[in-house]
Every structure is written in C-alpha cells, then in structure tokens.
C-alpha cells in the first residue's frame, strides 16, 4: 500500500480527488473550497488595525479554513515522510529540463529548485524575488481577485461563474508573462 502511494500520483487519480473536495466541504458545512482567504484571516488575527476589510469575526467565518490549512501542512508532512517518494528527482518533461537549464536551474532533486529555495538565497536578488516578491504578489493578487487557484479555477469555474473564468484567464496571462518575459531576465 505504502509502495503504491509513494510514487508520483498520476493526474487522473489526483484530479478527481481534488475535485471531490468541493461537494464534500459543501456537504460538511456549506463551505466553499478556497485557501487564500486564510492570509486574510491571519491578517485579521495579527494586524487588523482599523481596516474595515480585516475587522470581522474570523473565528466564525475562517476558523474552519485555518484548521483545513493546518491539515494541508500535516498532509505535506506525511507526503514527505511515510509516503515519501524514493525517487527524489522530479519526473518533469525533458523539454522543461532543457529550458530551465538554460536559465541556470540544473538541480532537479526535490519539489523545488534548491538553488532558489534556501535561506542563503533570500539574500540574492533572484531568491528574494522568487520567495519574497512571488509570495507578496500571490497574497496581493489572490485577495484583489477574490480567490486563488482553488477558489476560482476549481470552485468558481465548477459553479460556472464568469468572474472566475476572467480571473483564471488573468492567472494565465500573468503566469505566461512571468515565465517567458520576466524569468529569463531575473534568473
């Protein structure tokens, strides 16, 4: 069983499992799958100031989601320990490897590039941009758009919401610009 679970889960297994969380959360307690709201709840807890957007009862509207995210952390922990993949080099396509090698990313061991995702790297311009600015833009953009990949690309699209379709087109427009125009400059 553990052997079967330890390799990379194929898309046709992972995709349907992820999709089932939308009806599941609805049936458990009328909750809409959406992770980025947790950054807002964290702000509401630690630094609401007098901001109207951050002064609300986070325990009632967000505690479930903070607990859900704590679960995601534990899920990652299990995936990295008892269900760890013995093959640590990621099986991405040869074309992607070649493209990334041209950008100077040559270590494919693990889920993230070790060159950028380490404590020393945050002192370098590339590391600071990827980890610091990247995180900032994700937090800023998801709240501005009212959702992230889970809230718009899965939940919102599944509910056939035009707003979510527009947001997802925006996600890709920004992502393609970053991948093909900005990353070659900063990496």
């Amino acid at each position: 069983m553990i052997e079967l679970m330890s390799g990379t889960w194929p898309w046709y297994v992972a995709g349907p499992i992820i999709g089932i969380f939308v009806p599941l959360l609805l049936l458990v307690g009328n909750r809409m799958l959406g992770i980025s709201s947790n950054f807002r709840h964290i702000c509401a807890i630690v630094a609401p100031g007098r901001n109207a957007f951050l002064t609300y009862d986070w325990k009632r509207s967000g505690l479930w989601n903070l607990v859900f995210v704590a679960g995601i952390f534990i899920g990652g922990l299990l995936a990295g320990t008892i269900f760890a993949n013995p093959e640590t080099v990621i099986g991405i396509s040869e074309a992607t490897r070649a493209d990334l090698a041209q950008l100077g990313i040559t270590n494919f061991d693990g889920l993230v590039p070790r060159e950028l995702f380490n404590w020393r790297a945050i002192l370098s311009p590339a590391g600071l941009l990827v980890l610091g600015v990247g995180g900032f833009l994700v937090g800023f953009g998801s709240r501005w758009a009212g959702g992230c990949t889970s809230g718009h690309a899965i939940t919102g699209l599944a509910d056939l919401q035009l707003a979510s379709l527009i947001a997802v087109v925006g996600f890709f427009a920004g992502g393609l610009f970053m991948t093909f125009v900005v990353l070659p400059v900063i990496l």
Partner: protein, 173 residues
Amino acid sequence: MPPVQAVPPQTPLTDEQPIFEKSADSVGAIGENIAGLAIYLLLGIAFGLVLTKSEAVSWFRIQEMFRFQSFHMYGIIGCAFAIAAVSLQVLKRSRVRTMRGEPLRVPPKERTAGMRRYWMGGIVFGLGWALLGACPGPMFALLGSGLPIMLVPIVSAVAGTRAYAWLRPRLPH
C-alpha cells in the same frame, strides 16, 4: 447572460464582511464544534497529501505547465473541475442538505463594473504564481513536506494581503 450591474466605486464589496450562517450547533465564539473542526483537519490532511503526492505543489510542475510541456497539471485541474462541476450541479438541483441539516448555499461571485478586480487581480496573482511556483495551498503543503524556507513566501503573502487591505479603497474593482 444577465446584464452586468454598474457598481459605483464607493459601494462596499460584499466580501467586506464575510457572511456566515448561523447554525444550530455552532458554539459561541468558536463557531464550529470540535468534532466539526476535526473533520476539516482530516479533509485538509487528505488535501495536502494529494497536492504533494501529485507534485502539484512543485515549482518545476508549474513551470512545465506554463511552458505547455506536459499534460500533468492540465489533467489535474481539468479532472478537478469536471468532478467539482458535475457534483455541484447535481447537488444544486437536489434537495440534499448539509450534515447539519442546512440547505446548501453556493453564493455566486460578485459581478463588478468591468470585472476589473478579476482580471487585474488575476494577472497579479498569475505573476506571483509563476514566480514562486506555488499557490496558497501548496505553500503550506511544501512547508510541511520539510521546507521551512516556505515561511518566507507565506509571511510575504500575508504582507501582500495586508497591503491589499490597505490599498483596497483606492484600487479598481
């Protein structure tokens, strides 16, 4: 398609105050009982496990997706969408209630003038997604998988959200 209603900029958006339903068993300030929270914890564990084991949390997989060099991420998002869409439409047409006996509520996303918050915010999010190679769920899954460095993007995302809250009255929505 219903006409898009013009929303004057001063109008507070509906997510100014998150709506929550009053449920029979919600306990005072906590709002969920412990058993309810335990269910969300278990669901979160399963969610984090599937995100990580499918490598949807991987910076490399996100690059592969934006470079259109593998079907993997499209397969994941496509299947998730299909399953979620079909089950949501079936549930909305049924009389099924939640575990606590409430009628199902799926509030629609708010339509704003020009839908500016969606495409503008979406582009900003997309820039960050391709740069960091992780969206919010994967940030926490990667942290758990043994990458304490993920605290940097998580704290940055909180700072980004705080900056948005501060600039909100001046941003187009």
